[in-house]
Amino acid sequence: MSTTVALDNFNRLPVSRQLRATAGFKPKQTLRAVAMPGKIIIEAMPSSGKLVKRKGRVVWTGELPAGVNSANAVNALRDEI
């Protein structure tokens, strides 16, 4: 979903119910905001996972944000460069 929003008179950024619902945000949920030139990304915080040993390697068990995986994370990173 893509829409246009405007800062209000107090420079606050309103996020509509529809946007929140599409993103799957719940009331009082803690979110992470990442700002960079020209954009702000607001996303759900991943759950706190733990590090476990698998076949001699260290693997992280934490949940990733909704819709994020290794493939699209790398593509997004490169788009930001």
């Binding site: 698998r54 001699g56 260290v58 693997v59 290794s70 994370a73 790398v74 930001e80 460069i81």
Partner: protein, 137 residues
């Protein structure tokens, strides 16, 4: 013998247990592999960025990989050659980074690329065997 070359997305899938392609990566990983040195920085950056992995955890995941991965670098001249060839090869945008990673695979003699981003590698390395983690999900 180290024969498989893993790109950044595959390494992330291997180290993050809840990633969509983690199981596929686990099933393909045979104990060691090669990867581009630039993937180390991409791994940390993508993990701590969009994937939301805590920075200290991302470092531990990367440090763990050091025991199993042989990191391959390009010289300045090799990197320049890839960039110079990009217009003729029709490479523009982010695919250039895969072209640089593919050059590391070529340099190391690897013929098998493990990736969760297969499309670009089919373009930059058409003769390679692509292990597509997304197809094994």
């Amino acid at each position: 013998m180290k024969s498989d070359f893993w790109d950044t997305s595959a390494l992330l899938a291997l180290q993050c247990g809840s990633d969509d392609f983690h199981s596929a990566a686990e099933s393909v990983f045979d104990g060691d592999c090669l990867a581009a040195r630039r993937s180390r920085a991409e791994f940390y950056s993508a993990a701590t960025g969009r994937m939301g992995v805590p920075p200290a955890v991302a470092w531990q995941l990367l440090e763990s990989l050091d025991e199993f991965v042989e990191w391959i670098s390009l010289s300045d001249a090799e990197e320049a050659r890839v960039i110079k060839s990009a217009p003729k090869r029709g490479l523009q945008g982010r695919i250039l980074f895969d072209a640089l990673i593919a050059e590391c695979a070529t340099k190391s003699g690897c013929k098998t690329i493990v990736t969760a981003n297969p499309t670009h590698f089919r373009h930059v390395l058409p003769h390679a065997d692509i292990v597509d983690l997304t197809a094994q999900k």
